[in-house]
Amino acid sequence: MLKFILKRVLEAIPTLLILITISFFLMRFAPGNPFSSERGLPPEVMQNINAKYGLDKPVLDQYVTYLGNILQGDFGPSFKYKDFTVNQLVAAALPVSATIGFCAFIFTIILGVAVGTIAALKQNTWVDYTIMSTAMLGVVMPSFVLAPVLIYIFCIYFDWLPAGGWHGGGWQYIILPMIGMSLLYVATFARITRGSMIETLNSNYIRTARAKGLSYPYIIMKHALKPAMLPIVSYMGPAFVGIITGSVVIETIFGLPGIGKLFVNAAFNRDYSLVLGITIMIGALTIFFNAVVDILLAYIDPKIRF
């Protein structure tokens, strides 16, 4: 196990390096620069700005300087939000997205797996169709349609919850965004669980257990759940990273200061250092959670060897 972790950490370094390099140069190839505005800046002003942010040096030099800085933990100043460094902005936004994301993830797993399992047990009956159809609405309708509907019902019509804001993160500000984010993933988890659970329930050893007279709930919990979770666990890695790093749509509609909005705005503003900083963070998180997922896979299916 230790060897596994060590190997992964060693592999993470070249992976991140390649990611940084590709992203760095990809951004420089995209047209537009961080300081352009509707008002064309006179060349001498442009020169001063470029000198201040090091953009007047050759791209390769900037790349090397940037790498050197990262190794010391300095991800640079934000080009757009001139009062802050990248570290400060990410440190402020990440907890918001992570909190909502984590709650959404727990909610999604429990609800999604439960729904999928019930549908699998009652395969092709009206229970199956009803449950799955309801869950499916979360997938087929985009969040920019569902979230305003949620707001309209709970905030404007019933006035039970605030229509947005974070205010330091009280439960009433988390609950609607959490539901908004989960809707998409609940359906996905439910369908994958259903498919996988049906396949598992048709196995011989489950048939043996039924023949022995064991009840379905017991069979599910003790025998079927673990192997059926295999595709879910595989999907969980990227899904978890996606949920934690937030959805720009949800954050825009609910006015949350999260990473999703920060990242998309940074890309639109060509805020190179902020985009790179968040990209590295996403890359590191992806690598980490994929490693966790691989460990879980080996736990679920003892025959799996990497």
Binding site: T15, L137, F144, Y152, P238, K303, I304
Partner: protein
């Protein structure tokens, strides 16, 4: 034991005349699929939708880009020919919904096909090969997953201009990533099963094992997940429009119609309702077909 030689000959002749057709697993699957009522109904509805988006616009007196300043955002009515009402520029929503369907269906289906082909092969190979090959392929996947998609699209447009093919390249580039991971997971599990061991021992080469044994057995989960991908691809296309790559005005797609409709939900709900209805019905059908395929392809289903 059969005593009489004559009887023996008669049975042998009889056996020769019997046409015993072997039934392959694919034929089994086909049969099961046909008998799945939900899946077949969905297939029929899908066919109707496809016919509607191809021929429907011909039934209306309006073109999809006919603006009408005096018919802005009017509700649906049979009388003036605007069956689904009009949008904020007075364009007929009936025609626009159907025309939008053309792009969205194309994007959805082609995107799913790309995801299935590339994702399945990549994931199956990675999972089956194991060891160093698997590790390198997975790290590559992680890199591709983390690259900021927006810049990739902008650079694509900068270097290649805006061709409709690029939409599919862009969508195809990210759609297969999740699929590959899921297939890899399934493959890792399948790899340890006895029948794979048996094939290996029989001397079947690795490529054939992957294509003939692994892939058909992961098709169940692939069918389910690919139909789950279709809605996200339709929405990615509208994000691409935002970046200037997707369809340009006055052409439209369901994603674009939904975005416009969501903004005017309180004042002109028909602008959201009709495209949403079409999208929901179509995607539901795709999903039932996907589930039907999964059920049909499951070798363990009686």
């Amino acid at each position: 034991m059969i005593q009489k030689k004559a009887n023996l000959e008669a049975v042998e002749k009889f056996a020769d005349h019997l046409e015993v057709e072997g039934r392959s697993l694919w034929q089994d699957a086909y049969g099961r699929f046909i008998r799945n009522k939900a899946a077949m109904t969905s297939l029929i509805i899908l066919t109707l939708v496809v016919l509607a988006v191809i021929f429907g616009p011909l039934l209306s007196q309006f073109a999809y880009d006919d603006t009408d300043w005096y018919a802005i955002s009017i509700p649906p009515s049979f009388a003036n020919g605007h069956y689904f009402g009009t949008d904020s520029l007075g364009r007929d929503l009936f025609v626009r919904t159907l025309i939008g369907g053309r792009i969205s269906l194309m994007v959805g289906i082609l995107g799913a096909v790309v995801a299935v082909i590339i994702g399945t092969l990549y994931g199956a190979t990675s999972g089956f090969m194991g060891g160093r090959v698997d590790r390198i392929m997975m790290r590559l996947l992680e890199i591709l997953y983390s690259i900021p998609f927006m810049f990739f699209v902008i650079v694509l447009v900068t270097f290649f201009g805006r061709h409709i093919i690029l939409i599919f390249v862009a969508i195809g580039a990210i759609s297969w990533l999740d699929m590959a991971r899921i297939v890899r997971g399934q493959t890792l599990s399948l790899r340890g099963k006895e029948f794979i061991e048996a094939a290996y021992v029989c001397g079947v080469n690795k490529k054939t094992i992957v294509v003939r044994h692994i892939v058909p057995n992961v098709l169940g989960i692939v069918a389910v997940y690919s139909t789950l991908l279709i809605p996200s691809m339709i929405l990615t296309e509208s994000f691409l429009s935002f970046l200037g790559l997707g369809v340009q005005e006055p052409m439209t797609s369901w994603g674009a119609l939904l975005q416009d409709g969501a903004g005017s939900m309180e004042v002109a709900i028909w602008q959201l309702l009709f495209p949403a209805f079409f999208m929901v019905v179509t995607l539901f059908c795709f999903n039932y077909v996907g589930d039907g395929l999964r059920d049909a392809l499951d070798p363990k289903d009686r």
